[in-house]
Symmetry: C2
Subunit: 287 residues, 2 copies
């Protein structure tokens, strides 16, 4: 997905929000906004927003001296969701359609996104998303591909969200490779949080090699690129991964809640919709 | 009121919104955002936000070649409110407290503000504000000062809003000088719209001389400054005038709805509150 004009003020807003998490020093935050402002004219509009966000969050770390501003918030989110885990697992087990319930919960987890200007209440959001109608619902295709798949590549997004992903990964019932970011960016998951959550116990955890808050293929490492090319099925969580992968030429299932009006428009749905969207699938399976 | 860090991304958002009203040319809007971005580091934080907004809206006119982007919208707003005028006047006349009802309506008109990121529905907002509780309500002081005043200076704000101001000016029952901006900026009122609305029939209309979307004394003309110094009572409408006049050393009654979280915080109230706030009054009347 390309950068829209609306992304430009949003980069400033993100810098302010993250700057405030990273430091209490107003002078440093002012300097950060000055520098982001002066970068605006250098942003190529054909570039995906997470590519620009990479530069912005690097500036935040550089100016505030804090390489992982959301460290404590990530841990807090993880703790909160782990506390709910047994109940959530029970919801899946007692459901009429455990796979669908775990898909819904994986989307519910996607509200824990500190890159967007949205408040969330994880308990309320879970209840809502369990009953919310999907705006795009390629569930039959998802089940069919899942049945045929020998290996699944599951691209993670935010840290707390991955606790929910665990439930879905278990329901998939196939060997899964779970993909994380190379370094901390916003509240995205890295190897460290994946291990903290115990994803390494149920899936192989690899880094995509990207330092962006999304999956940008040209910055990914060979191990990821090989898996991405050859996996029978790719599940991509969240907005950042959608922005990076929306135009790739292989089949992908996107699983997300739209929290940004531009991404919603790009997908053709409304803000706050929930999505299970398949791309390139018809060609791939030859029907 | 000084500039807050939060104002900086907001300047970019305002530029995008106004740029889109001024032109359909995405390249020009991109150039506008590039230039505003590169101006961020030059903004003195001790300057009031309307002073910075002046530069931003000048850039919008310069780059888009449109000196009055909101011209049509202003006319549309004025027409819509003039259409309601007879009904509103009836509401005031049949009210238990016509002065208070006209004060409430004057605040209702303040929702027609195209400088903020808020949608409004004038008919619904009027009904709501007629019954909304004031967060600050210096009404007794207002009535006392009004009774004693021989001449009132009434500083207008937005164009459509001034139709509501007419109702209040009539209820004041004293000679009123109505103040407008020198040139079109956002949807603020100038002499042209004041005459279109017929304010010149019930008050003396003068320009403050300012080209900012607010009253910045150092940029005002002598005629205004003389009136501002000597008027028995000053009524200031809206956020832009509050931002410019919040720290002056004479008594002022501020009449507004808080549509910006920073202005609300500066006043000590919440967003979407309604305010009739007196400053410097105790000193002035010696009690």
């Amino acid at each position: 997905m390309k950068t829209y004009l609306d992304c430009l003020p949003c980069f400033m807003t993100q810098a302010l929000r993250a700057g405030r998490v990273a430091t209490n020093d107003e002078q440093k935050i002012k300097k950060l906004l000055d520098e982001i402002g002066s970068l605006i004219h250098k942003i190529p509009m054909e570039q995906t927003p997470p590519e620009t966000a990479t530069i912005i969050y690097q500036k935040i770390s550089e100016i505030t001296g804090n390489p992982d501003p959301y460290k404590e918030v990530k841990e807090e989110n993880i703790k909160q969701v782990l506390h709910l885990y047994a109940d959530l697992e029970q919801k899946v087990k007692t459901s009429d359609d455990p796979l669908l319930t775990s898909l819904r919960l994986a989307i519910a987890g996607n509200v824990i996104d500190l890159g967007v200007n949205k408040k969330f209440n994880i308990i309320e959001d879970v209840e809502k998303i369990l009953y919310q109608e999907f705006a795009i619902f390629d569930y039959d295709l998802f089940k069919r591909e899942l049945k045929a798949a020998k290996e699944i590549l599951y691209i993670g997004d935010n840290s707390g969200e991955a606790v929910f992903d665990k439930l879905l990964i278990k329901e998939l019932g196939k060997p899964v490779t779970f993909v994380v970011r190379e370094v901390p960016i916003i509240n995205d998951i890295t190897v460290k949080e994946a291990k903290r959550i115990g994803i390494d116990k149920i899936a192989k955890v690899i880094s995509s090699g990207t330092i962006a808050p999304g999956t940008i293929l040209k910055y990914c490492n060979d191990e990821f690129l090989d898996k991405f090319k050859n996996a029978d099925m790719v599940i991509s969580k969240g907005q950042g991964n959608y922005e990076g992968l929306s135009d790739v030429d292989r089949s992908v299932f996107f699983l997300l809640k739209t929290k940004c009006p531009l991404i919603a428009r790009n997908i053709g749905v409304k803000e706050d919709d929930i999505i299970l969207k398949a791309i390139n699938l018809v060609d791939r399976i030859g029907i």
